[in-house]
């Protein structure tokens, strides 16, 4: 019996469109920017937030580690309704860290911190337009910087 593999990414036109758009950003540049009031943009203190797309889309906030995003949805429309109700698993596009305990947000490919770490967000930081964030399925908080954190 053949087990044909079909990429899970093929279903995400949003992902491909955003990736293509990001490819147009050719150079690293730095600026001072404004953002809404909170530690990380639109992320309350003590929380680690993921967003369906930008920080003005539906979000899900994690107060602690979470081993399985498949049973979570972007259920908070305080700052935007785009993506509301979508399952968090594989669909988080932006992430914000408003830790009050110095915790790094470590996002993993699979549930139960499996499949390897995808990316990491340091306290106070926020990362958006992450091409690598699309497949996050679990979150583990840690006090140590595993390297390569933004």
């Amino acid at each position: 019996m053949s087990m044909a593999i079909r990429s899970r990414w093929a279903r995400s036109s949003r992902a491909f469109a955003a990736t293509a758009g990001l490819a147009a950003a050719l150079a690293v540049g730095g600026v001072l920017t404004a953002s809404p009031a909170s530690a990380g943009t639109n992320c309350a203190g003590g929380y680690h937030c993921v967003f369906w797309s930008s920080f003005s889309s539906a979000r899900h906030s994690y107060f602690n580690s979470d081993s399985n995003f498949t049973n979570d949805t972007f259920n908070d429309t305080t700052y935007g309704s785009s993506g509301s109700g979508t399952v968090v698993n594989d669909n988080a596009w932006s992430a914000s860290n408003s830790s009050t305990g110095g915790y790094y947000s470590r996002y993993y490919l699979d549930i139960n911190s499996g499949g390897g770490m995808l990316f990491c967000v340091k306290p106070g930081s926020q990362v958006l337009e992450l091409s690598a964030a699309l497949s996050a399925s679990s979150l583990s908080l840690t006090t140590s910087n595993p390297g390569g954190c933004y």
Partner: protein, 288 residues
């Protein structure tokens, strides 16, 4: 020729879209009985980017711990008790290494247990002291991501103590280096030796009934709750990697491609090393 170009483009798109630049906890591969297991941890540690970004080091620990202590002192001076746990000393047991070629083990969980919950809900004034004015952040954009950090507040002040006026440059070079690591992985797909390894692996997988182009594509196609230990697809992946010597070839060639990227971007490496040295020097003073 056209077909080959389309195939190459499809592969590149798959890698970009999958962005499977994942990291795995220190664990050896699960080779079939009788097969010598390649020392994946050593192969990974030989990657030029590993030493820069991922290797556990006393230097990285000093910088992080100094930053933590500076933030605590700053918060205390502003009347707040900020008490993040001490940064654990680096050890091989806690090291993560990139997982650029999909599964290397049939272990499902690659990370240790999550720490006990200790986040606390704090006042807005506490948050303002720690992360500063919410409408002032520094940001930098790379080819695939945009990152922003607080411009003021105790977290920022701690980082400024270590980096001085170079904090934004540090953010920029961190993005450049991180994206360089990903770009090197993409460049590897053009490497003839690696492509041959992919082809050998794919033939082996097909013989096992698994039809896919490469191990990264395979990993991203699996349901996220897959139990690798019992998955026939995951078992075929690991077995074929072992039988074809896939990981040895892949890591060896990736090391060459990573070095080529660094050689082509000497300013990035020079800036990174300079700013790491600066931070470490000041961190030593902070830690006494």
């Amino acid at each position: 020729m056209v077909t080959r170009k389309i195939a190459a483009l499809a592969t590149a798109v798959a890698v970009i879209a999958c962005a499977a630049w994942v990291f795995v906890g220190r664990s050896g591969p699960s080779a079939p009985a009788g097969q010598p297991a390649p020392d994946i941890a050593r192969l990974s540690a030989d990657l030029p980017f590993y030493a820069l970004l991922h290797a556990p080091s006393e230097r990285q620990w000093r910088i992080a711990e100094a930053e933590r202590r500076l933030a605590i002192t700053c918060m205390s001076a502003r009347g707040y008790r900020y008490a993040p746990d001490a940064i654990p000393r680096p050890s091989a047991a806690t090291a993560d290494h990139p997982l650029p070629f999909g599964l290397e083990s049939l272990k499902t969980a690659t990370a240790g247990p999550a720490p006990a919950a200790s986040e606390r809900q704090e006042s807005k004034a506490f948050l303002a002291a720690l992360y500063g004015s919410a409408d002032r952040r520094i940001s930098a954009k790379g080819r695939t991501i945009k990152v922003s950090w607080p411009a003021t507040g105790c977290q920022a002040e701690a980082e400024k103590r270590l980096l001085g006026s170079e904090r934004l440059r540090w953010l920029q070079v961190s993005i450049e280096l991180g994206e360089g690591e990903q770009q090197a992985r993409k460049n590897l797909d053009k490497d003839p030796a690696f492509r041959a390894a992919d082809a050998r692996w794919a033939r082996c997988a097909l013989a096992a009934g698994v039809e896919t182009d490469d191990p990264v594509h395979l990993l991203n196609s699996l349901p996220r709750d897959t139990d690798f230990a019992t998955s026939p697809v995951a078992k075929a992946d690991i077995r074929c990697k072992s039988e074809t010597g896939y990981l040895h070839t892949a890591y060896t060639r990736l090391a060459v491609v990573q070095r080529a990227w660094l050689d082509a971007h000497p300013a990035v490496l020079t800036t990174w090393q300079s700013l790491m040295k600066r931070q470490d020097g000041i961190a030593r003073g902070v830690l006494g």
